[in-house]
Amino acid sequence: MSDTAKTTALFTLVAVLIIGTGVTQSWNSALLILNMGLISAIMALGVNLQWGFAGLFNVGVMGFVALGGLATVIVSMPPTTEAWAAGGLRVLLGLVLGAATIVAAILTYKAMAPGRRRTLALIVILVGGFFLFRFVFDGGVQSIEAINPSVSGYLGGLGLPVLLSWPVGGLLAAGAAWIIGKTALGLRSDYLAIATLGIAEIVIAVLKNEEWLSRGVKNVNGLPRPVPNEIDLQNDPAFVERATSLGIDPVTASTLYIKLGYAVLFAVVLVILLVLAQRALHSPWGRMMRAIRDNEVAAEAMGKDVTRRHLQVFILGSAICGIAGAMMTTLDGQLVPTTYQPLRFTFLIWVMVIVGGSGNNLGAVLGGFLIWFLWVQVEPMGLWLMQTITSGMSEGYWLREHLLESAAHMRLLTMGLILLLVLRFSPRGLLPER
């Protein structure tokens, strides 16, 4: 089978699976799978850029996704004016002071000759800067969090259109990637993995604890939407009329309409990014990236700045994950920091890339859809399997109860198994790199 035929066949399979869900279960869940599949495909595209193009091992996808989610809150929520008046500037000043301390420390480090005096100067700058930062910052935080804590207690956002948060999410993630890349790239490959693992946990810790920023574990609900509300549609006589003329009940029609709206928006982003990624892959830049991936020493001998190129592609890939994260939070309509689980947001994306075919953009997109579909459907399948296994056991027998209760954890097992099997028997994935 030629490459194109195989690609078409596999994508048709995905389409059949999703449409099948629509026919046998409900169109609502089919569209849910489609929407999250689109987002997953974008994340997989980002990871593929790093791993497939450049061989960089990023296990902090969750952190970049969460930063995208934060961007949604910062951009789209209306500002809390009282909070800004109470301590907004003070918090910002605190952050600027913190950043200035670090910059000052770096400059001192570069300017002074190594020795005891430099160490002493660095310690004075860092410790003094830290206490100054905490003094200014903590006061601001307290006054912000004191304002109406049950519904607000945070700075709010900028009140801009929510769609703008998607590129902003990408920028935030790119910024974080720049900081990690500056320190960990150029060292051995495992270190980047551990550094990214760490930064992801820290981003989540910040989201959970900094209430002035995004209300922490109190969550931000009711984010503005780029599509109309279901209720408004149901109250719109023209829409109800059209729905009834199509033979669908208006409530169902409105939810389907909204989900379709999201699907169109996401699909547009995916297509744009996919085209860009494809162009990049087949450009001289893409060839250079793959040359670096396959043989760093030879590429360096040809005069390529390996570390710089790595930094570049690391930032780009992370930015794509940030965009996807902002889209996901927009779809959810709320930012819930506790839902960010590394297994779901980092390692699942990795399974998508490996299964789809690393180095192949279409493969990553395919993997995104396919693995997301499995992720959703493995749970009912696991439950069904357990019911079949336990059907012979008597009601109330402890093993039966236990197996049925634990069926939900089948997901992780299945995903791990898929990853290992693909890695072992078909390491190039479903759609191998050409």
């Binding site: 061989g55 091992f57 296990v59 830290f130 320190t183 960990a184 060292l187 051995r188 490959s189 495992d190 270190y191 993995a193 551990i194 550094a195 693992l197 760490g198 930064i199 946990e201 820290i202 810790a205 959970k208 604890n209 590394p342 297994l343 390692f347 990795w350 490996i354 209760e405 634990s406 954890h409 089948m410 997901r411 992780l412 097992l413 299945t414 995903m415 791990g416 198994l417 990853l419 290992l420 890695l423 072992r424 390491p427």
Partner: protein
């Protein structure tokens, strides 16, 4: 008197917990560092290996408790530990046979082995949750304290009490024994020497007739034992939860890297560096400073440098500093 009170408060809230936590991290980091030295990859499944070994131990503990067996003032889990270690050894030898051996034979890049370990991590994580559930499990029994805060106050007449939990004592004693045995094994026995030779120079070791598969097998067995012991000690001291063990991966890796990957001494030093910095930075110092500062200068706040929720950030910051200024770690590990 004030100075004594300050010292006691410091020991009670900072030194004793940090020593216990440091020992647990050191044991975990030893496992990571051994795998890195011999098999030459970062094993991301280590946290979940610890979780699996601990889970096996907990199950045996429950069985023993149900049978009415107890270990006097010590936790029953210590009796169950050998069986837990055995289960964990079977598990890691099984994963090595099914997963890692193939990549060794084809001489895959280390990063491929790391990805395979991700897959193993997924499976173990699912398996542990499947068997014991995702919730907190407490399995410590026996005497809770070696010395309680109240006894200490009565004994010394100080205002501050010093409480030492049995689990903290056990952690330290076990860690010392385990480390002593490990170093004796690595430095004095034939197998241990062949392991170090293999780690230093694979080709030379193969030339001199060392059987690589045997070295790898022994390594996995030691790692399984270390992981189970570390996991059980951590679980006794705090509590067992599959997700917490996965999260331990970051401080454990930080310890191993700070010490120098591949260096056992470094892993132990790294474990204590990470543990002490975590506890130092997240401890609210008010309690100690109250005794040391003159009354009019007493701090009004808690004097906590960072909230405890940011303990990952501390492991991470130390990791970054070490990577930037001394990429091979404090004890000059490998930098393959």
């Amino acid at each position: 008197m004030d100075i004594l009170n300050a010292i006691v408060a410091l020991s009670n809230f900072v030194l004793v917990p940090a020593i216990a936590y440091g020992s647990q991290l050191a044991l975990g980091a030893l496992g990571v560092t051994l795998i890195y030295g011999i098999l030459r990859f970062s094993n991301f499944a280590h946290g979940d290996t610890m979780a699996f070994g601990t889970m096996a131990t907990i199950l045996v503990t429950w069985a023993l408790q149900a049978a009415g067996v107890s270990f006097g003032p010590l936790p029953t889990a210590l009796l169950a530990l050998p069986l837990g270690i055995a289960a964990c050894i079977l598990l890691v030898l099984g994963t090595d046979r099914l997963v890692y051996r193939f990549y060794r034979e084809v001489k895959a890049k280390p990063i491929i082995l790391v990805m395979a370990s991700l897959g193993v991590m997924f499976i173990l994580n699912g398996l542990v949750r499947f068997i014991i559930g995702p919730d907190d499990q407490r399995f410590a029994d026996g005497e809770r304290f070696i010395i309680t805060a109240r006894d200490f106050k009565e004994m010394t007449g100080l205002q501050e009490g010093l409480a030492i939990k049995t689990t903290q004592g056990i952690t330290l004693v076990t860690a010392i024994i385990v480390v002593a045995v490990l170093f004796w094994f690595l430095n004095r026995t034939r197998t241990g020497k062949s392991m170090r030779a293999y780690s230093d120079n694979e080709d030379l070791a193969l030339l001199s007739g060392i059987n690589p598969e045997r070295v790898v097998m022994v390594t996995w067995m030691i790692v399984a034992a270390l992981a189970t012991i570390a996991g059980v000690l951590y679980g006794l001291d705090k509590s067992f939860k599959a997700f917490t063990y996965f999260q331990l991966l970051l401080p454990i890796f930080a310890s191993a890297i700070v010490g120098g990957l591949g260096s056992p001494v470094g892993a132990i030093a790294g474990g204590f560096v990470i543990a002490f910095s975590e506890v130092f930075v997240t401890y609210a110092w008010k309690k100690v400073l109250v005794y040391l500062m003159p009354e009019n200068l007493e701090p009004s706040g808690l004097v906590q440098l960072l909230s405890t929720d940011y303990k990952f950030a501390i492991s991470f910051a130390i990791l970054l500093i070490v990577l930037l200024f001394r990429p091979t770690g404090l004890f000059r590990g490998k930098s393959v």
